[in-house]
Amino acid sequence: MSAEIAAPRSQRIDPKYVRGPKSRSSFEMLAWLFMRLSGVVLVVLIFGHLIANLLTGTGINALSFGFVAGKWASPIWQFWDLALLWLAMLHGTNGVRTIINDYAEKHATRAWLKGVLYVSTIFIIVLGSLVIFTFDPCVVNSPLPQC
């Protein structure tokens, strides 16, 4: 069982390779591109998030309401977390959409699963954005001295 298999689109296949008819929508291609662009940016955002929250100072022991208030006093960290929220959620949602398309074979099942997925995604993105934009250092039970 060791047939000679040339690399895709090489040698004899290459010159004759023709694309199928152009599809009307470029959504899938844009989604494919988005997965790669967001992936590169997410490496930076997530590594920065983990370094700041788990590896510097006393790491996880330092996490508290006061720690979050300190970070979100800076517009840089607000923007960092907002970008992380949107990119990770959209990247993850698109990834899970692909997985649903792969495994859910019945049309109705697919539609339901994707409906639940999109509703959850919108809910989490809206909630997370509101939490960052409306953050109040003097919320109920705040331990901060200025409150």
């Binding site: 069982m1 298999i5 690399a7 895709p8 790669r36 992936g39 590169v40 997410l42 490496v43 997530i46 590594f47 983990l50 788990l54 590896l55 006393t58 790491g59 996880i60 022991n61 996490l63 508290s64 309401f65 979050v68 929220l85 990770a88 959620m89 993850g92 949602t93 990834g95 899970v96 997985i99 959850s120 989490i124 909630l127 997370g128 509101l130 939490v131 409306t134 953050f135 109040d136 919320v139 109920v140 039970n141 705040s142 331990p143």
Partner: protein, 126 residues
């Protein structure tokens, strides 16, 4: 697809397992993120409720969970960069297997560094 296939260029080889790993870690990170945004939202409701939830993240059992989560993230991140190289770099498909060993090597080193630091902080030995 034949269920009795004794192996092809792809099935059952590194290429397939790295794909399974990428898929599983992607879903795990996504589920974590849903919960993570929900618990972070407590910050907008009640400061001491937030602190109480965060306190549970500091016990040794949870520290192991966080370590596992970071293991998944590191694999997904490095393997994701490999997929991107395979797609965009001219020599990518030719070296995809070497790139996978590179991913595993970098993963072992970075994960070991993270685990030592995080677990010694979480278990109080710093």
């Amino acid at each position: 697809m034949s269920k009795t296939s004794s192996g092809t260029l792809y099935r059952g080889r590194e290429g397939m397992w790295s794909w399974v790993g990428h898929r599983v870690t992607g879903v795990v990170i996504f589920l974590f993120l849903l919960v993570h945004v929900l618990d972070t939202a407590l910050v907008r409701v009640d400061a001491s409720a937030y602190d109480a939830v965060i306190a549970t993240y500091k016990n040794p059992l949870m520290a192991l969970g966080e370590t596992a989560l970071v293991a998944a993230i590191l694999f997904h991140a490095f393997n994701g960069l490999r997929l991107i190289l395979v797609d965009f770099w001219k020599q990518g498909t030719k070296y995809q297997r070497q790139l996978l060993w590179g991913v595993i090597g970098v993963w072992v080193v970075v994960f070991a560094g993270f685990a030592i630091r995080h677990l010694s902080l979480a278990f109080g030995g710093h």
